[in-house]
């Protein structure tokens, strides 16, 4: 019996957690009517998009044994950059490409500094957290950047209650999740990320170019963060340099709740996506229960601790 419990924890821990929070919010009288409806899940999915896309990049980084604290600032910077390009009349697709490129550039800087200067990712990205946030405010002159309407604004909308179609952002997140999972599981690049995170010395000894690999990982993750910035812009419909403060912690929490280990070498895209959903469901449910936001924060904080504790129980089996 105990073994069955452990296997369930090991294989589907995050998934069970997700079912659990959904069931919990379906029961109370306050939420019963609306919570389990298609429209509510459309909202939940849409609310998950930004954290989910960030978590894709963050999973690559955490599995490789690193961390990136600069995500929230990167999202703010890219969304300001995107808004300014839209002000100048750029078309949606070039703006998208530019924003992803800006995100990738920040990642490239992070990766180069971490691998080249041989410094810990925590310190470097703590630094770029400040640099990117400050740059965003500087570029935006400390104000929000407004632009005339753009098709980008429609990519995250759930405004039309009669339309069953999910917004573009949800599809993009879903598609990228599948691609990233395949990348991590089925390619040499993915396996090298696991090797790097599991034991960097072994990776080097086995002829993996660890410096180049690190730069590639942070750059690719940065591209994801740039894309998250695009959907942030789409949701807000203006460039705001003060947006997404502390979002990196939500993103890291999703990856950790999803079963990744901060010491590297362990983690899955599916887990991280479920982790992101758990957080979104908790927020959505709490709002419908009419709980104040500070209460949501407390709950999410506790969920992170419980998730990691359960993860340790699971690890204990292998020790």
């Amino acid at each position: 019996m105990k073994d069955i419990f452990r296997i369930l924890l090991a294989k589907g821990g995050p998934f069970i957690g997700l079912i659990l929070v959904i069931v919990l919010f379906s029961i109370p009288a306050e939420t019963r009517e609306f919570f389990l409806t298609y429209n509510n899940f459309k909202i939940i999915f849409t609310q998950t998009v930004i954290v989910a896309i960030g978590a894709l990049g963050m999973t690559l980084i955490i599995v490789s044994g690193g961390i990136d604290l600069s995500v929230g600032s990167s999202i703010a910077l890219t969304s300001v950059a995107g808004a300014q390009l839209l002000q100048r009349g750029w078309a949606p697709i070039p703006v998208l490409i530019a924003m992803v490129a800006v995100g990738a550039l920040i990642g490239l800087l992070n990766g180069t500094a971490i691998a080249g200067l041989r410094m810990t990712p925590f310190i470097i990205t703590l630094g770029t957290l400040g640099v990117a946030r400050g740059s965003a405010k500087w570029m935006a002159d400390n104000q929000t950047v407004n632009y005339d309407s753009s098709p980008i604004n429609g990519w995250m909308t759930t405004a039309d209650p009669f339309s069953h179609a999910l917004p573009a952002g949800v599809w993009v997140a879903l598609g990228l999740a599948v691609l990233t999972a395949i990348l991590l599981r089925k390619t040499v690049f993915g396996r090298h990320i696991f090797a790097l995170g599991s034991n960097e010395a072994t990776a080097r000894l086995c002829g993996i170019a660890t410096t180049r690999l690190k730069v590639a990982i942070y750059t690719l993750a940065g591209a994801f963060f740039g894309l998250a910035g695009l959907f942030q812009l789409s949701r807000l419909r203006q460039g705001d340099p003060t947006v997404a403060v502390g979002l990196e912690l939500d993103i890291i929490a999703s990856v950790i709740i999803g079963g990744a280990s901060l010491s590297g070498g362990v983690g899955t895209i599916l887990g991280s996506m479920i982790g992101a959903l758990i957080m979104a469901v908790l927020r959505n449910g709490s709002q419908q229960m009419g709980w104040p936001t500070y209460f949501q924060e407390i709950i999410i904080g506790l969920v992170i601790i419980v998730a990691v504790f359960l993860d340790r129980l699971r690890q204990g089996r292998q020790a």
Binding site: D3, K186, T187, V188, F189, R191, H192, F194, A195, S198, N199, A201, T202, A203, R204, L205, C206, G207, I208, A209, S261, G265, V266, Q318
Partner: protein, 497 residues
């Protein structure tokens, strides 16, 4: 026997379905050094964990000086008089020697450390060991491994233990330090401390122990006086079969030179080394720990940058250096440090075994997982690696089996020049014999091998040529026939002239 310090009777312990200890009995007199001998997985560590209070036994009784002994945890065991020195030392490297010795048992008044009493107690403990000269104010991390071990033993002596358990205490000591440790053990024995001594080095057990007990598959299979026992007898007990020829040698001709190392130096230790390696040759590197043997292998493999000299891999398509290129040139490196450098413990056997050539299991960066798995499974069978299957996490295997997988990585790659750093460290006799055989087969197949070993019988047993390193220099290179254990030690300590 009336005078018994510690008596274990029919100790049993299971983990789930695995019966780690089926029935272990043991008797130790005061002032006796008792060797516990057994292959990896025989149950030694489990037994020691029960003795030191980390686990509780499922059945059986333990008596210490005539009263039932039931430790609740390692701290309780210590208070009751059973202390343990682990193979991996447990020191706070950023604290001083004195702080480490008194850790958890500080002399204090109302929470303030009493400096004078602390110093006296730490000095008293060191005096018992005959190491009064140790600087108590130095940071533990600044001491050598041997000195760190003394600090740890001093900590154990603080509470006057009746029984001291030492797990593989010499595994990272040099010959000279081992002798010093033996002197320390003799002192403790003279003071009436009973010592349980665990080691893979049988010769060592024979030197230091009064009696021995052999464990096999969780059972006591033999015990007796060390003085009257032959090593062959003990090895037969351990393995349950006769090990006839530990160092098999197949006749093999030597071919062309495949590796030339010309006056190589690297920072911080390697000062100068020159050697030539031929196909079919097993080249042994002897010397003390810290003499630069590992540094030489790392320099050859391109893990460390060269400060001077040149490494030529002959018959290779490129002259580029660095680990990635070395693998491409057919050079493979086995690290002495399995856990920290050699293997990815939380990944599978398959991934560990194929990490150097993942790209070849598929096209355009994709991995054909089935093919990769099949290759690993074949090696698992060929090298008789004990595991569920090649998908098992390597951290779950015993040291000997981990080492076989690490070696299989070189075989599969395939390498033609093998750089093996302490390939038999910390593994059981059965796996050792297997590795000696593999090396012999490699040489017969025309591969070239450089092997570093601190274990002299092994060096003399398996190598064609032996070079000894001393203080960063490779001084003497001669055919094996011209070496003896004494001469290697002389060259290693720089007393050969």
């Amino acid at each position: 026997m009336s005078d018994v310090r510690l008596r274990l009777t029919a100790i049993q312990k299971s983990f789930g379905a695995t019966r780690a200890l089926k029935s272990v009995s043991l008797e130790i007199a005061p002032g006796e050094v008792h060797a516990i001998i057994g292959e990896n997985g025989a149950g030694k560590s489990t037994l020691m964990k029960i003795l030191s209070g980390a686990y509780g036994a499922d059945a059986g009784t333990m008596n210490l000086s005539g009263v039932p002994y039931l430790p609740e945890n390692p701290h309780d065991a210590r208070l009751k008089g059973v202390a343990m020195i682990y193979q991996e030392l447990n020191l706070a490297l950023h604290l001083s020697a004195q702080e480490n010795i008194l850790l958890g048992a500080e002399s204090a008044r109302a929470g303030w450390i009493d400096r004078k009493t602390s110093r006296e107690r730490a000095q008293a403990a060191l005096a018992q060991l005959g190491h009064e000269g140790l600087d108590l104010d130095r940071l533990a991390g600044d001491f050598s491994i041997a000195e760190q071990q003394i600090i740890e033993i001093a900590r154990a002596l603080l509470i006057s233990p009746q029984v001291l358990i030492m797990d593989e205490p010499t595994s990272s000591l040099t010959q000279a330090d081992t002798e010093k440790l033996f002197a320390t053990i003799a002192r403790l024995r003279a003071r009436g401390v009973s010592i349980i001594y665990i080691s893979h080095f049988l010769e060592e057990c024979r030197l230091i122990a009064d009696r021995y007990t052999v464990l096999k598959d969780g059972e006591t299979v033999g015990s007796g006086e060390m003085a009257g026992a032959s090593l062959d007898h003990i090895v037969t007990l351990m393995t349950g079969r006769e090990v006839k020829d530990l160092y098999p040698r197949t006749a093999h001709p030597m071919g062309a030179v495949v590796l030339e190392v010309k006056a190589v130096a690297s920072k911080p230790r390697l000062r100068r080394a020159t050697l030539q390696l031929r196909a079919g040759e097993v080249f042994g590197l002897g010397g003390l720990i810290g003499a630069g043997r590992t540094d030489l292998l790392r320099a050859i493999f391109g893990l460390d940058d060269l400060a001077a000299g040149e490494v030529c891999i002959l018959g290779a398509p490129t002259r580029a250096v660095g680990p990635k290129n070395r693998w491409g040139q057919g050079v493979g490196f086995l690290s002495e440090n399995r856990k920290e450098e050699g293997l990815m413990l939380n990944q599978t056997i398959t991934d560990n075994l194929t990490l150097t050539k993942l790209g070849e299991f598929g096209r355009m960066g994709w991995i054909n997982g089935g093919r990769q798995q099949a290759v690993a499974q074949r090696w698992v069978g060929e090298l008789r690696v004990k595991c569920r299957d090649a998908g098992q996490l390597i951290g779950e295997l015993s040291g000997g089996n981990q080492q076989k997988v690490a070696l299989a990585r070189l075989l599969e790659h395939p390498a033609r020049i093998f750089l093996l750093d302490e390939p038999t460290r910390g593994i059981d006799v059965g796996s050792k014999a297997h590795i000696y055989q593999l090396v012999s087969e490699l040489a017969a197949a025309g591969k070239a091998v450089v092997v570093v070993s601190s274990y002299l019988p092994e060096l003399l047993g398996m190598c064609d040529t032996i070079g000894v390193m001393c203080r960063g220099e490779l001084t003497a290179v001669r055919p094996r026939a011209e070496w003896s254990e004494t001469e290697i030690m002389r060259a290693a300590t720089g007393s050969a002239g």
